[in-house]
């Protein structure tokens, strides 16, 4: 009976761990994309301010 509860706990833990890891991955991706977008916008502004060849 104890192992029955143990496996139930493993099942619940696994379900939540997959969701939590995925949510953390999404949050990290959000930060990376924001940084990249800022960097590319700065690059475009720099290119626009340079005289055309």
């Amino acid at each position: 009976m104890t192992s029955n509860y143990t496996f139930m706990f493993y099942g619940f833990l696994a379900a939540w761990m997959v969701v939590i890891i995925y949510v953390i991955w999404i949050a990290l991706r959000e930060r990376k994309l924001r940084d990249e977008l800022d960097r590319v916008k700065r690059m475009v502004e720099e290119r626009e301010s340079e005289p055309r060849k």
């Binding site: 009976m1 192992s3 029955n4 509860y5 496996f7 139930m8 493993y10 099942g11 619940f12 696994a14 379900a15 997959v18 969701v19 995925y22 949510v23 999404i26 991706r29 959000e30 994309l33 924001r34 990249e36 977008l37 590319v40 916008k41 690059m43 475009v44 290119r47 626009e48 340079e50 055309r52």
Partner: protein, 227 residues
Amino acid sequence: MRLKIILILSVLSGALLAWNLHSMFMDVPDELNQGAVFRIIYFHVPAAMTSFTGFYLGMFAGIGYLVKKDLRFDSIAAAINEVSLAFATVTLITGSIWGRMIWGIWWAWDPRITSYFVCWLIYTGYLMLRRAIDEPTTRARLSAVLSIFGAVDILIVWKSIEWWRTQHPGPVLEIRGGGGMAPGMEAPLWWNALALVMLATVLVLIRSRQQSMQREIDSLRRYAHAF
């Protein structure tokens, strides 16, 4: 508007999941033959339902791209399929843990489990394909075609427990003519399905916004290199 929807759905989903946890442990008794471990079904089946729904919606978004040639459909399809894959992973892992306790084995090459694993491989391949192709229209077209193949497999997964009676349990829900669960035991499963669908919607909204950001980055980069 999108942020408001995300916040509202997050709160509702979190509250419903917490209330469901209370119901699962306080209101629902242990199953006669399986004991406490049967409660894994409250995550296993709703996660499977969420992934099935998502993969079909992803296919429709992919078809939307093939018809309209609008990359927004492709972004939505990619977001939906990725989130659905996460829920498919939950289904496979929780099913494996339940099988270890009830059958004494972690895995069985049963038609239901194998076809679902094939589905998992197809959508993992879908994400790998997207990473491998840089050209947006080619990526969108091939992804849409692959998601149509994936949806065919979903139909096989869905019907497999009726077509082949092997290791995996047959239909237990009332809606599929199972009748294997008492109504009081079945209700938390549907509430959890609703909570997981809301959670999946939140994740899809966030991921599709990220896909739009990625498109903006790509177009700005192309513009910068045109100088």
